[in-house]
Symmetry: C3
Subunit: 350 residues, 3 copies
């Protein structure tokens, strides 16, 4: 079961080619997005022509409308049929539309009751279009349930193992040797920690840094992390609390979205950036990004193999709860609560 | 559910290599066809050795018989076992045989009650073996239910959209701007129309033609189209009726067969020809065939994506009926009626 | 249904890379094997970390233990958890371990009740590591039920048909023209035969040999064949019985294991050797092995196509029993009896 009343990331804004609609499946429902040729605004609707259920995403953008390129039905941004070949008056039918927003380089679609769509619920990310803060972005697809990807992102102790020779080295930290501080927000879980005396990869003379890592994992699968490296000693100076008003040596930003396609497939849209305090350092750090980008394939391999073991395992077999599971557990409970509340709310409406 | 008492196209005659049997699945049933080495006639049977259910299509033709190449059982054209290694007398077993006919370059198999097989029910096509009327032929497979392919062929208004930059240009006509005359025959639906003042592609000085298009879509999925181009004005001269006794400038012929493999796969055997009124023009038109052949891939892409939307859609969701649907509707009703009659007839026989 | 109380071949010893665990699925259960870095012994366990069900086969060997490389849980050879990051005392959990034995170049795993594991039940094979008796080995996977592979190996009359131009020629014998002597052993079926005046492939002057073939097919799918070529006349001299104390001109050895992965996939580990009575002849025969190795693909093609026909056939449709089926029949009955006895035994234990 999926949460419906939520903003889901359909993909990157850049995935939308000029004049072409874009079709994706979100929580089992085909969705099409197109850009209004006049206003430049996005429109979203069910990706299904009411005539013969052809995908509108194979259609054509015409002004503010989308035309099905199977038999030519055209629909306005309000979903209403605007034209049908051979008919003088279009029939009084409409496709379902979805609230859609473009923000921080992502296309966000509200999959639930349109009346409840509130843009304030869209978490802040970073975007990938700032040339001074270069980000590398990509999208992949998991043959796995989204829950396994959530679990992965809510317990970064796996960095020491899954990414032992890649991200662990690149971050200079040991992620499984201590636990982050975890707090629950309204629709997200927050993870914060210092790594004291972390190795500075590539540094000479064994130079170390103090690294502050803070990330939020938002419903229904948005991961936004900000990391910052400071001179050794900064963590102590800050009393092991969040560093405020201190310029870091370098920063890293991760923005990732887990979007369930259906019960067995999950889309994953991720971007990552290493940003120095000078343009020169930023350029230098950019070279190291290949390592970071490769780690996403390490996660995919692990999670898809994990899914295969789940598929061969009686669902009654219990799993072991470890301290590391606090984050994944809180996130699962939050999702379960919201899905439950949604079911109750639908019953009350009925 | 499939219609059983019908001739199905198993494939092109040329698919049958000398001395080799050919196996295909039709409406869920494995069928093997082989050519008698003595008489040259075709034989058809279930593609399943009664011994261990190995496919006879991996077997060997021996005279008029077929031998299973797993353990060596041999079957005559009547389906009876003719030889088994180690046994002096073959066991009294037989495989089911099917009526099979070779006509117009296709292999036709009657999948139902053999007593009802009537060759007169095989519709006339054209064949691809006449060197003066060169045809291009191919076979592809759809990951889709056959109904979606039927619908496609019974509503050519889709040419303006699916084939907007290919077949629509090549035909010089607008297919969705007017409707054909549609009449129901006994086991087919007929579509007829004039395109007046159609563009003549490649013509200089904006020359136009009147194009007469007539096609029958026969149970259980045979599409035979004949088109003809005449000097502009001919349509009016004929009173917008079928042109009789007038030699066209050029003709085109399409012969296509939709053969269900099972509920989710469909074979499609198609041939197309552009034939001029002089050998020179015929050669010239042959060059334009690449465009026509490419359109079959355009259909496949649309239909397979349409099938995916169907798979993600509650079957209870109604579809919209448009005037364009008259042809597909009549064909679906005809198929449903015949399938229903067949069920009644089987009950009566029982 | 699968037999559980049995030794299954997980794979070749050489499949186990140094320091790396090896994961395979046997009768539906994921199994991991690793080699103790201290003692060199093998350990086997369920390939499923109790924490989040990640595959331990993606883990790391540490001494005698295996560590899950998702979140770092470590398990000793007794299956008990030995370490978890962040916890001073590991939790009292254990993974299921399996008896495992290394013998004749194969890794054998006992999938049933560990108390009943008896190494004496492991049939003798030959091994592939003797440099003076060179064997060629490989593993493939069938998209088919294991039963179809058993049937294949228990009726070699198929050599004349499936391997008509390969193994039949290479063996110089006609396999379907006479039947072997078949006897049932405790957990195997034995097949013995002479081929009198068999062609000696590659021989000049039409030289022939008498060939003695003897093989056992052991529960749950172990095929061990020994063949030997003698001067023509030997069969008669031996009274058509097993030749004892006579040195053959050349020998061939086959050792093959059929291991069900699940109900629709089967692993097949095979090795084959042609060994002469002189090193020179052995070298010469080794050249002919390509032909023998190719025959395994011929079997796979037939069996996978056979499985497709089974999938399209009502399971109620009876199959024909031929004299050739005596071996497959006895083996199926043996397997059925053992599976039935196992069910009864489990009930009694309960």
């Amino acid at each position: 079961m999926f949460l419906r009343n939520s903003w889901y990331v359909l993909g990157w804004t850049r995935d939308l080619a000029p004049g072409k609609p874009l079709g994706r499946v979100i929580i089992g429902d085909p969705v099409v997005v197109w850009r209004d040729e006049t206003t430049g605004r996005l429109h979203a609707a069910e990706d299904r022509c009411p005539h013969r259920h052809a995908p509108l995403s194979m259609g054509r953008v015409e002004g503010d409308a989308i035309r099905c390129m199977y038999h030519g039905m055209k629909f306005g941004p309000d979903g209403r049929c605007a034209h049908v070949p051979l008919l003088e008056t279009p029939p009084k039918v409409a496709i379902r539309t979805y609230p859609v927003v473009e923000k921080d380089s992502w296309i966000w679609v509200w999959m639930g009751d349109a009346d409840r769509a509130d843009e304030a619920l869209i978490p802040d990310a970073h975007g990938i279009d700032n040339p001074e803060q270069p980000m590398r972005a990509n999208s992949i697809e998991y043959d796995a349930h989204y829950q396994l990807v959530h679990d992965n992102l809510c317990d970064l102790s796996h960095v020491d193992f899954v990414h032992e020779t890649t991200l662990r080295i690149a971050t200079g930290a040991w992620w499984a040797q201590s636990a982050p501080r975890i707090t629950t927000q309204d629709r997200s879980v927050r993870f914060e920690r210092w790594f004291v005396d972390a190795d500075l990869p590539g540094a000479q003379n064994g130079e170390t840094v103090d690294t502050w890592i803070s990330y939020d994992f938002h419903v229904p699968g948005i991961f936004v992390l900000r990391g910052a490296r400071y001179p050794a000693g900064t963590a102590m100076e800050c009393g092991m609390k969040e560093p405020v008003g201190i310029e870091p040596v370098s920063r890293n930003i991760e923005q990732q979205a887990v979007t369930p396609i259906d019960a067995t497939h999950t889309a994953y849209h991720y971007a990552t950036g290493l940003i120095g305090n000078t343009p020169e350092m930023t350029r230098k750090l950019a070279e190291r990004m290949d390592v970071v980008m490769a780690t996403f394939e390490e996660d995919r391999e692990m999670i898809e193999e994990q899914q295969k073991i789940w598929d061969r395992t009686d669902p009654e077999v219990e799993k072991l709860f470890l301290p590391q599971d606090k984050g994944p557990f809180l996130m699962r409970k939050m999702m379960e609560r919201l899905i439950r509340e949604e079911a109750v709310s639908e019953e009350e409406d009925a």
